[in-house]
Symmetry: C2
Subunit: 478 residues, 2 copies
């Protein structure tokens, strides 16, 4: 019966992946839709995942010397316009505040789509000497981008993120920061979210508005599409010049500092869902799961069962394992389905027979494996099983990435791969925008990045046949 209930609950992911995704975010209690298109309510369970992401990243940032700040939510139009490329990239998709109280404002204010201009304006006030550098700042906030098509987590008109902004004495220092923060994202995606990444540089077409270089970590979802999961930008001194930020260097001359920014958003929760989820719902990696273990008493009316289950819960909690118990009056089958939908990594079942044998049953969410675990030394066994789930999810996602990344040397070959199998395509590329646009038009893929791990697949561009020394990874992107 529990089985039937589950089958009815969500769409089959291999039949309609987009609908499956929507079903999961709603049924797992992550999100509710608000009255405005593209604005979502993060419900407690969805927000708890974000809080865990915040806690881990915030610690990583601070360990590297970054400090949090809070910038205004509104940007004057004149400030947004100071850097030419930046305003061209963002102005078409911002929301404008035109009235405050009953008065019309003298200047329109946009709700921040990103905060480079605000940080620069502040730095212009407070940076004077090389002693003031580097400025290593981060901000946790929400930003608005007035997108046409919207989906929970993947593309919201409002989304939550962190935006790091740093200012440095030299170009080298700023470039090193850009790389360092990309590596933080890669580390976080792989070791916490269990999402293997392709690390690389964006083409000029795909880079951030106003940046000299954008670096990215790209992940492959279950449907073999790409999700850009974190980006790190090097700005050179372009913004500094536009905002007239100068400092007196050690040699007593006036110079422009060099700048970076880097961001990761609630999109990564979309990534978690689409990387690990299955037809029973969400599957969360233990290291980021709000609840790692759910304890479910079986035949809980029998004497001592609930007490034993509570005892197990207390033991796990004392060992620092995030655990909950469900002693409600629903059937075990209903509970199994419920916590599978919520993606809780490990279920512990305890009933009268288990108690007699001094054991309980552990069930892995990732592969359904059932393991008999002795109550003696339970904490160690559970910790080990959670590690196994974490590693199992990573290995599975890595296989998906490796088995669905294909080299191609002709447009026809590339088109055939996308049409029949899907996945990432790696090809040589001459560097011309025209060829990049033709790949989009004829094959239907965009360049995801020029990976740091280059392979020499050939000597010529897949598109124009001219000499090419760059390998690009292409894909259909969210």
């Amino acid at each position: 019966m529990a089985k039937e209930k589950k089958v009815q609950q969500i769409t089959d992911m291999d039949v309609d992946f987009a609908q499956w995704f929507t079903d999961v975010v709603v049924k797992a209690g992550l999100v509710d839709y608000s009255g405005i298109k593209g604005f979502y309510i993060l419900r407690p369970y969805g927000y708890a995942i974000w809080e865990n992401i915040q806690a881990v990243l915030d610690r990583m940032f601070k360990d590297l010397g970054h400090e949090n700040v809070s910038m205004p939510v509104l940007i004057p139009e004149s400030l947004l316009q100071k850097e030419k490329d930046h305003v061209e990239g963002f102005a078409p998709e911002v929301a404008w505040v035109t009235h405050g109280g009953s008065e019309e404002l003298q200047e329109r204010l946009c709700v921040r789509p990103t905060s480079e201009t605000l940080f620069c304006d502040h730095w212009q006030h407070v940076v004077h000497s090389w002693r003031d550098l580097p400025m290593l700042y981060n901000q946790w906030c929400s930003v608005l981008r007035w997108e046409k098509t919207t989906r929970p987590f993947l593309r919201g008109r409002e989304f939550l993120w962190q935006e790091g902004h740093t200012l440095h004495r030299t170009a080298e220092e700023a470039e090193a920061e850009t790389q360092q923060m990309l590596n933080v994202y890669a580390d976080f995606c792989e070791n916490w979210l269990a999402m293997p990444v392709v690390k690389g540089r964006k083409t000029d077409k795909e880079k951030f508005a106003g940046a000299e270089a954008t670096y990215t970590v790209e992940c492959m979802m279950h449907d073999k599409k790409a999700l850009q999961s974190g980006t790190s930008h090097y700005f050179g001194d372009g913004f500094a010049r536009a905002f007239e930020i100068t400092f007196t260097d050690k040699d007593n001359t006036l110079k422009y500092p060099h700048q970076t920014s880097w961001g990761l958003s609630t999109r990564t929760i979309g990534g978690l869902i689409m990387t690990h989820g299955d037809n029973n719902g969400l599957v969360l990696p233990p290291k980021i799961a709000p609840t790692q273990v759910i304890v479910i008493p079986i035949a809980s009316h029998k004497p001592g069962v609930i007490e034993k289950a509570e005892e197990i819960l207390a033991k796990l909690k004392a060992a620092g394992i995030r655990s909950k118990i469900d002693t409600g009056d629903q059937s075990p089958g209903w509970k199994f389905a419920e916590y599978e939908m919520k993606g809780i990594p490990l279920r512990i079942e305890i009933g009268p027979r288990d108690m007699e044998n001094g054991q309980c049953m552990a069930v892995r969410r990732d592969n359904g494996e059932k393991i008999i675990v002795a109550l003696d030394g339970l904490e160690e066994s559970v910790a080990k099983l959670l590690d196994d789930v974490q590693n199992g999810l990573y290995e599975k996602a890595l296989r998906n990435l490796n088995e669905n990344t294909f080299p191609a040397s002709t447009m026809e070959e590339a088109k055939d791969i996308i049409d029949t199998k899907g996945g990432f395509i790696k090809t040589m590329w001459c560097g011309d925008l025209d060829c990049e646009l033709e790949m989009k038009e004829k094959v239907g893929v965009s360049s995801r990045c020029i990976p740091f791990n280059q392979e020499k697949l050939g000597d010529t561009c897949i598109c124009c046949g001219k000499p090419a020394d760059k390998m690009v990874v292409w894909g259909v992107a969210y």
Copy 2:
């Protein structure tokens, strides 16, 4: 010389308290002004205080079963208008988004001034049965209120806060929640911020727009004015009726649930400054200070001094005391002034002579007291000194409150107190709005609250002379 520098740096608090406040928030590095009136940048040191406030309160909320969520930053005009009193209170001071990208919106959206309407809209979707209750939610975010006069921390057009929103099966449960959260705020203000409070109920004139009852904790600042530091509202089922939120109760009938909300903002940082600060700058209570101890090597060119200072730092950190060191090339005098300005509760000086004697010098920020401390057992001594500073600040603030709260039985007496001494006035009040307005007009004070700790000062209203059974505390408020 250090002394001279300090004197030049900030305005004397007893000459111009408002200017002193502005000087402190800027010189201590808490805030920078943005390009928009009433929007402030919280710099790392200012934001770090807020992060500590968040960490403590968040733990308190969660221990009481509350969960964090994230609501949209924008509210459709039609949603804001659903509860009559609420919209009347807030509509005049909101910022309106009228354009998204290049399009004019069909309906204006306001940037949230508070989120009751959003929570109600969500609950209308998800609350069906008594089993869904209570909903115990909280949100950390910024809100906008288009104020005319603005000041950092005290009155911003944007400010950071938390807003708790809860929904309950019965009126009794909701009322108990309202009281519970007021007590959390009182506990937090007194035991963490070292700010004694007057706890009580707001008069109808002063209550929150749309609330049945508003409760408050009021604090007295150094200049004897009042700062409302946290409020907790009971809504009855008014919003539930306006938003058509119903649930099936245990008896199988359809009912309206009962609601609360409660909030505390970055205003409390303004309160910290104005309660504890002095003419050398900020003074932070140790329990909330980002840095509790600053270690300063004296004659640091002498062999072993910096090493010993670092050793002290490591010892303090290992004991969980938030500590920093300054080994920079400025003079000790400059450093003393700098960390006094930043309000760091305890300074540890270590020089060659101290080393010989196996000791160091501790200097309390609150009263300037210098204490010789043996390096042996340093952590325990420092922890004890930090407790002393925390308690000393609370005792001093409590004296300020007690010594400047005066009973009055006639308007003339009240006016004379406000004109000559300032402070809080306690009087009997009949409950009529007219008398409350007359107190404002003739004495220049507003009702702060009807304290829970009532005293029978007489039988008649200070204003109209009619029978009165309520004691009110009045004051000049921020």
